[in-house]
Symmetry: C2
Subunit: 122 residues, 2 copies
């Protein structure tokens, strides 16, 4: 019963979290992870980011757009400079999903170990 409830919980998180799709996809690129880390230290303009990652402005804009669509980055244009900072989403939901998943896997291996200890593997 506890097992089912645990599973149902995780399923609930997945079914109603379309944003997890966007954020995990956004994280599936080393440059985009690098941008997040950089913005975690300080805000930066698109051109500063392009320079830091040895990339064209156009290429950097695309990466920033993907991060912005996922809610991980926000940008603000003042004059000619577009400044990027971390967005409203802080990967809380993603960390929660991962935590729940890892707990479930761990519990499963605990049950398996208990089964083997009980002589089931003899």
């Amino acid at each position: 019963m506890r097992h089912l409830a645990r599973g149902a919980n995780v399923n609930h998180m997945v079914q109603y979290s379309p944003s997890l799709d966007d954020s995990f996809a956004a994280l599936a690129d080393p440059t985009r992870r690098g941008i997040l880390e950089r913005l975690g230290r300080e805000d930066a303009s698109i051109s500063a980011l392009a320079e830091a990652f040895a990339m064209t402005l156009t290429g950097m804009k695309k990466h920033v757009q993907i991060l912005e669509d996922a809610g991980l980055v926000t940008t603000e244009k003042v004059g000619r400079v577009r400044t990027c900072r971390l967005g409203p989403r802080r990967l809380d939901e993603e960390a929660l999903w991962m935590h729940a998943y890892r707990e479930m896997v761990e519990a499963r291996f605990d049950r398996l170990a208990a089964f083997l200890d009980g002589g089931g593997g003899a």
Copy 2:
């Protein structure tokens, strides 16, 4: 100095972890997250998974292949049945990256709060 060391640490994790690309991309789909949760509870054949997710065998095979390429699932064919189970990777590295990132962001906001408390925001 501590700040730089922290950043360098996270960068190191990112630069030398091409597998993070594959695993985050694998997680960017609700069906694939669902498959992992299901396999976290019990091993299952491709056809059982296809049925559970109301999907064609071909469609399910593609999802399983992506999870397999990312090291999150392994499969074994015995007779006509291909059984899927959780793979060698347990999202440890992904959780570590997320943890380091969230810690860095938190530390940054702590520094900002300290700055504002010190009258910098007056």
